[in-house]
Amino acid sequence: MPDRLRRLLSGPASLGYAVLTATAVTYLLVYTTNLGHLPTSFDYLSILNTTLPLVFVAIGQSLVVITGGIDLSVGGIVAFCVAVTATRVHGSGLTPFAWLLAILALGTACGAVNGVIVARARIAPILTTLATLSIFSGLALWVLPVPGGSIPSGVRMVLTNPTVPTGLIWLSLAVLGWLVLRRTRFGMRVYAVGSDETSAVAIGVPAARIKIAVYALSGLCSALAAVFYVSTTTAGDANAGGPFILTSIASVVVGGVAFSGGRGSALGAMAGAVALTLVIDVIFFAGIDPLYQSLFQGLFLVVAVLLGTGAALIARARRGAL
């Protein structure tokens, strides 16, 4: 086995890759047996465009989970930013893009609020983000009380073009961004804080600042997700964020990020996010009774996680024996 492939299979994101491969193969199989031909460019493109928002939220969530925290407010930040995007991004030329930058700043600020409360006021992440979830969701309803709004088609053409896979550019940028971040001093400190905060502080890691930055990044990711959400759906809904809370956490779990902190990779979470979307398609083409769809989605999660834990245990046991 080539060295690089071996590293890929044993790396922190391997569970995510394995689950993604399994679901992708299953998807191809079920699709082909059902329709008699391989998926077309329309299928790939619509999978890409519908997955992008979840991919972004999953990146943010994985960063937070690596520091040993959890971010429930992603649902609120996505909703708030969706509402602002759908109501404020108008005009032509570069104006809408300036607005998009402002929305990314807004999301980052929302995330930073979480970070400050968690790091400075030392309130448990789950409590903090549960509270801010309500606040941000409330703000979303205030901005956009009934579903509606719009997005200039220029933005749509650049972000999630329905005929050209522009989404691939943004996906690659996200992967690249993570690979760079991972290698910076900040990236290493994120892991340090997650695996053992006390020791990290003892060797001079500014844990509080790192945490604030991580929650702010999660907010930024949620804002990105919101922008892509509005771009794909062409309108806003103040309730758009809710589903992202559980699905982003599920992506992180499937992606093999440890909830104890310090272990895992955003790449795994991204793979997990894509796998979760593909599961919907697998269930669709497998012709599973609609009443049991959520049952199967849940089973998929449990099986994926059990496989991950089982594999890790076996690996550890063997290492111990050697």
Partner: protein
């Protein structure tokens, strides 16, 4: 090497997953592959898990198993939960599957615009109902919620001959239907100076909540002559009965429990009018999609009248169902000579077909 083991384990897992889903597929495919040239119509529903949605899907299923739909249409049903991206994926897959029409009860009125537009671009007929889709290329089948409020309020005013105290039990605040219903009712009450609105509180469209809130409000209320209820009507009646109050005139939703009181099956007998958002909107949408596909009808949205029942027009087995629970929506079928659609009890409870041919009257 532990690394090899790990990789092999994951490969094995992949195979297991593959096989398990592969098997599920084969068995589910059989019933769909018979028949000559039938049009494919899929129902994409968002949330399932309340009585209304279950009845809505059951009557759809029943209609698909009845002529003329049995010979002309190949139906399928999908639920997405309240998750826009799941429903959006399902609709994309329906597009890939090459269905001819998609009937939608949406998770979000705006969130499916993108994918619905893509469906329209490929010549697929999209009909949405109840929680409709905004995309202008899609057709809608719905009722007018302002009229709901007006019609019930007018009935109360007429019964009271324009004089008396009324209360309003509203629905879930912040939803379009609640706003519209309340608006319609208030317009009518305001136009009649003899009518005094002495109380207004929410029942959350839920019988238990409506009963609890009514019991809490009643001690502070003067004599009540008329009650307007947006949902949970049987709960309000129970609260009045428990408090030993004289029975006012009721204008309420389509709950079977309410109609049992109106018919005198439950005591005390109540004078009232029952109007509701009919679960058979799914069947109307099915018919519109079929008719458009067959070229029998223009591509035009339709608004259907509410099925209405009053205390003196109730017929057991048609508009009130003594052996069904109170929470059941009795308006799963329309009645009378101009009925939009008439369905049997089994269609709503189990989704089994009714005897005979199904006629859906879309109006002209």
């Amino acid at each position: 090497m532990s690394i090899h083991r790990y990789a092999r384990l994951l490969a094995a897992a992949a195979v297991v997953l593959l096989i398990s889903t592969g098997c599920g597929d084969g068995s589910a495919d059989n019933p769909a592959t018979g028949g000559a040239k039938r049009v494919k119509i899929a129902l994409s529903n968002s949330f399932i898990g309340n009585q209304w949605r279950v009845e809505m899907e059951n009557v759809f299923k029943a209609a698909c198993a009845m002529p003329p739909y049995l010979e002309q249409v190949e139906c399928s049903i999908y639920n997405a939960g309240n998750d826009v991206s799941t429903q959006s994926r399902q609709i994309s897959n329906l597009i890939s599957q090459g269905v001819n029409a998609i009937v939608i009860n949406a998770a979000s009125t705006s969130g499916l615009n993108g994918v619905v537009q893509q469906a329209c671009d490929r010549g697929i007929v999209v009909v949405s109902f109840d929680n409709t889709v905004d995309a202008p290329c899609g057709l809608t089948v719905n009722t007018d919620q302002v009229k709901f409020g007006k019609q019930l309020a007018q009935f109360i005013v007429d019964q009271l001959k324009g004089q008396g105290n009324v209360i309003m039990v509203t629905g879930v605040a912040g939803t379009g239907a609640d706003n519209d219903r309340n608006k319609g009712a208030k317009e009518v009450f305001a136009a009649n100076p003899g009518i005094k609105l002495v109380g207004e509180y929410t029942g959350m469209w839920d019988s238990a909540t409506a009963q609890r809130n009514t019991s809490a409000q009643l001690p502070g209320l003067p004599k009540v002559d008329g009650v307007w209820v947006s949902g949970g009507t049987d709960g309000v009646i129970k609260a009045f009965a428990e408090a030993g109050r004289p029975m006012p005139v009721f204008g309420g939703e389509g709950e079977n429990g309410f109609r049992k009181y109106m018919a005198g099956i439950l005591t005390p007998k109540v004078v009232g009018m029952s109007v509701g958002q009919p679960p058979f909107l799914s069947v109307i949408s099915l018919e519109l999609a079929r008719a458009v596909l067959k070229g029998e009808r223009q591509k035009k949205s339709i608004e259907i009248p509410f099925p209405v029942a009053t205390s003196d027009s109730l017929k057991p087995g048609e508009t009130v169902f003594p052996d069904l629970p109170d929470s059941f929506f009795a308006d799963f079928t329309d009645s009378g000579p101009n009925a939009t659609v008439v369905l049997c009890q089994n269609a709503a409870t189990d989704g089994t077909p009714c005897p005979g041919t199904l006629k859906v009257n879309l109006g002209s």
